[in-house]
Symmetry: C2
Subunit: 160 residues, 2 copies
């Protein structure tokens, strides 16, 4: 597996991962009704440094790295990760997360924060805990899940 | 005191409140180096519904109301409040906060969340607690204060 910065040539492969994940509406606090242009505008936005995970020439995952806040909060990084549905369970999310922690360190960030980890996304919560993140906050019923209704979200944080 | 939606005529009065508050760099996780255009672009951004607090024709405070997240998180509101430095201690922040809770209810929000309340901003923390907000998360050393260095920030939340 190679994890590398995204290029323009990766745009459609990224869209193929991000669009269905957002459309499912069960993990990201982003509209599930975005058209392709809006999906790309979000994921490839100017504040995002975007990477892809590639195996045998196929892009199977993507993540972005950004500053979670500006000014006095600019030393804390934020990331979002997505794996192609067909490629889940192959360690791609974990590899991207480890890569992102190293990138964030290289960029001079002192910590990483996830603002809104949906509590029903148990695989993600478990993975972030394995990678050293702690749940530092619980947002009561802050996410309306398409199947489970209002569920809690977590704020997760780790120093770098 | 009248609290009402901001109009174009309020732009410079708003700038006079927001610019020095951001330039102080001790309460908002926003760059302290923004020029006037960038300050207005932030405070009057398209996602913000902006209000002003007026006494005897003088605008002494302003706040914005927005959705804190999109998609499954769009039922939680977020606000930012600023009072003119010379007008502090006159209950303007409290009046704006109470107004914002009512506006958020009217807009159909089910809760309100503050993502980054700097722990050294003790007056704000005390006011939010009086108004029913709880600290639901502590972000360790997530804010670099210009005098105190790295300090904690709080995530504060209340149902509506």
């Amino acid at each position: 597996m190679q994890i590398r910065p995204a290029t323009e040539d990766d745009t459609y492969a990224i869209l193929d991962i991000v669009a269905p994940t957002l459309a499912a509406g069960d993990t990201y606090a982003i509209s599930a009704d975005l058209d392709d242009a809006a999906v790309l505008s979000y994921w490839l936005g100017p504040s995002h440094e975007v990477f892809v995970a590639e195996i045998d020439g196929h892009i199977l995952g993507t993540y972005y790295l950004m500053a979670n806040q500006q000014g006095g909060g600019a030393h804390v990084a934020n990331c979002g990760y997505m794996t192609a549905p067909a490629a889940r369970g192959r360690g791609i999310a974990r590899a991207m997360a480890e890569h992102s922690l190293e990138m964030a360190r290289q960029r001079g960030f002192r910590a990483m924060q996830f603002n809104h980890v949906v509590s029903t996304n148990t695989l993600a919560v478990a993975l972030w805990k394995k990678l050293g993140f702690a749940i530092v906050g619980t947002l009561p019923q802050a996410f309306k899940h398409p199947e489970h209704g209002y569920v809690d979200s977590y704020v997760m944080f780790r120093a770098l």
